[in-house]
């Protein structure tokens, strides 16, 4: 799909528009805001989702020794630190000339990452998005949060809390602690999984499998029973993900596959170390987050989506039986086409959570998992390494160049949320077009814009990251900049109208 118009075309046009800013101003978790430009009839001339914070990792890791990098870069994000550590570790493996890890190290890394994706997916659905989906987009904002879900659906909310806990326990068993642990070394892992640790994890796995299935069923039900969810924030896009060499869903290692909106493969099993030949990133002056696109399709047509929706659409099969059965139902729902529904991200996300639970179960029974051969023989040193992994939110690229002393000279990171930048902007525009009617700024509009962005589970710490509900303030200004109307979420989550509605 061609990208929508996100800017007014000339100064004369701009002069006659008024600006509506949905602004988390003081909200640094969000580091994002939405602005709309409207004409007198409230037609949308411009709709933008801005990322407003900047870190500068690519610069300040220059001069650091390569082996430190996995532990710096994981501090981009406290939600998916393992994904960053592993993507960097895969690049570091190349720097030390390791092509193949030992079977134990490879399986430990996979197990670690399944724990990561499970906990992140559980967090996103149960702690952040479930209030919208269970209570309704326009429900009481004071109760639209995890505490409200614990009150109304205590059993469901507690299962969510425990699913996340289990993913964190898998991580802690391998990396020493739940957040910002250490697991990787160049060419391998730093510690084996003990039999005692494995037994502790196995004790709870049947509950985890059962609750993951419940979460898939719940999300399937929510998505298929609400007609509004099909068309909500509707856009059509290309999809990019890594798949295994048999076309299977793969979260740790594989080749790049992209499909067009019709489902046709644009490329497949591409070595991700050639990513520079297929992806460029456009800078726009109004956001610190860049806009990647597939070079072959060009800037206008080449934007794409990543993450659970892309992965479940892109793959041919899921290797674990329960998740594969769930994927078949997802595919049937698509009725021969890719499922483009933005809110189907939630359903796809829970299918992946189930796949993680099943894969953890399999790996815990694999005799290699408690092995002690952890580090491969190092090979010839190289000065460039590119590690790619499917992080919870999508394809994550880490690219490093080092000098002869092993110090970082150049780094490039394309984080998952960045790849969804154009898509989030398109979704915001779609919701603005569909729901902004008249001059009245309604609470329903505000939360619907949030719901559209939230479907992507944007990680604006990574890109810099937002967690949860962005606080919102909408201001309606006239063409001279005078305040016509203002609606904000005040104390206790209540909406407050402080401006004068003049129109």
């Amino acid at each position: 799909m061609e990208q929508g118009k996100d800017s007014a075309s000339n100064k004369d046009e701009l002069a006659n528009l008024r600006r509506v800013a949905i602004d988390p101003v003081s909200r640094v978790e969000g580091h994002g805001k939405i602005t709309l430009m409207l004409d007198a009839e409230n037609h949308i001339h411009e709709a933008r989702f801005h990322i407003v914070e900047f870190r500068g990792f690519e610069k300040f890791i220059q001069g650091r020794p390569y082996w430190e990098v996995p532990f710096f870069v994981q501090r981009l994000c406290g939600i998916c630190p393992v994904s960053h550590q592993l993507a960097a570790a895969k690049a570091v493996d190349q720097l030390v000339g390791v092509e193949h890890l030992t079977p134990t190290a490879y399986k430990l890394r996979r197990l670690l990452h399944f724990g990561q994706v499970l906990q992140s997916h559980a967090l996103h659905f149960f702690h952040l998005s479930s209030p919208d989906l269970l209570f309704g987009f326009g429900s009481d904002p004071a109760k639209r949060n995890i505490v409200g879900v614990l009150d109304k659906y205590p059993d469901l909310a507690l299962k969510g809390v425990k699913l996340r806990k289990y993913g964190q326990q898998v991580i802690a068993a391998i990396a020493g602690k739940r957040i910002h642990g250490t697991a990787t070394v160049p060419g391998g892992m730093n510690k084996p999984l003990t039999i005692a640790e494995r037994e502790i994890l196995l004790a709870d796995i049947s509950d985890i499998l059962s609750w993951s299935q419940d979460a898939v069923a719940l999300n399937e039900q929510i998505h298929t029973e609400h007609a509004e969810h099909r068309s909500f924030a509707a856009i059509r896009s290309n999809f990019l993900s890594v798949t295994g060499n048999g076309g299977e869903l793969e979260l740790y290692h594989g080749g790049l596959r992209a499909r067009s909106e019709s489902g046709a493969k644009i490329f497949d099993q591409l070595d991700y170390r050639g990513y520079q030949q297929i992806i460029r990133e456009e800078v726009r002056p109004w956001s610190y987050m860049k806009f990647p696109y597939l070079i072959g399709l060009g800037k206008q047509q080449g934007w794409y989506r990543v993450g659970p929706l892309a992965r479940v659409n892109n793959c041919d099969v899921i290797s674990t039986p329960l998740a594969e059965a769930a994927r078949q139902r997802f595919k049937e729902f698509g009725n021969g086409s890719l499922v483009q529904d933005t809110l189907a991200y939630h359903w796809a996300r829970m299918i992946e959570a189930l796949h993680c639970a099943e894969s953890i179960h399999e790996l815990l029974h694999d005799p290699d998992i408690t092995g002690s051969d952890l580090v491969a023989d190092l090979g010839e040193k190289r000065q460039e390494g590119i590690g790619v992994i499917e992080a919870p939110r999508g394809t994550l690229f880490h690219h490093y160049q080092i000098n002869e002393e092993g110090l970082i000279e150049k780094a490039n990171l394309i984080v998952s949320t960045t790849s969804n930048n154009q898509a989030m902007n398109e979704s915001v525009r779609s919701v603005a077009n569909e729901y902004l009617d008249g001059n009245e700024i309604t609470e329903g509009l505000l939360n619907r814009l949030e719901v559209a962005v939230r479907a992507y589970d944007p990680c604006l710490s990574c890109a810099t990251h937002a967690l949860g509900k962005m606080p919102l303030q909408v201001e309606l200004l006239d063409a001279e900049g005078a305040l016509l109307d203002r609606l904000s979420k005040g104390g206790n989550g209540k909406f407050e109208r402080t401006g004068q509605s003049a129109l």
Partner: protein
């Protein structure tokens, strides 16, 4: 959220941090349910409350990297009886403060002008983007802090220990085994 008068009201925010401290707070897992019998949330990433209201406790993750961060921190100080710096970044700037070894301009140029595969190179400068500070600062350089909770991140047990002390009306004191500076 509940408005029971006997509950401690807590606001939380993440400034220039990675959200790991908030994740670690949630790592109290099902103990969160018990905690909610004694506390309620005001402004937090977990709620829809936009501005900090008068609160008993403010938990601040992350340092200061832009003008918005400073604005939010001051709002927290004005409204919270007790303000706690949570984690390495709030306490000393942490990993984001590694950019202090370079000029801000060179960091921006690396990302937006000289980066790999950059199309349309330019430094974003829209009025919608908040002003960046020249250096990343720890939060005690801007406001008075009552307590410091160390760690990257502090463990869930640390959060529970401090909140438990405050709920009991005691001066918080971390047991030695909970103090770590990773």
């Amino acid at each position: 959220m509940s408005n029971a008068k006997n509950k401690l009201r807590i606001a939380t925010t993440s400034l220039a941090g990675c959200f790991g401290c908030h994740m670690s707070f949630l790592d109290m897992d099902e103990r969160l349910v018990e905690l909610l019998e004694h506390v309620e949330f005001d402004r937090s990433p977990l709620t829809d409350i936009k501005h900090c209201n008068p609160c008993d406790i403010g938990l601040v993750e992350g340092g200061l990297c832009n003008a918005d961060n400073v604005h939010v921190l001051r709002e927290f100080r004005r409204n919270c009886k007790i303000l706690i710096a949570v984690g390495a970044c709030a306490i000393n700037g942490g990993v984001p403060a590694m950019r202090n070894h370079f000029s801000l301009r060179s960091c921006l140029e690396e990302s937006f002008l000289n980066g790999v595969g950059v199309e349309n190179p330019q430094i974003p400068g829209d009025v919608e983007l908040p002003l960046l500070l020249d250096k990343v600062r720890p939060i005690h350089e801007a406001v008075q802090i009552d307590y410091y909770l160390p760690g990257c991140p502090p463990s869930a047990d640390e959060f529970l220990s401090v909140l438990g002390d405050l709920l009991a009306g005691r001066e918080p004191a971390l047991p030695k085994k909970l103090i770590h500076y990773d």
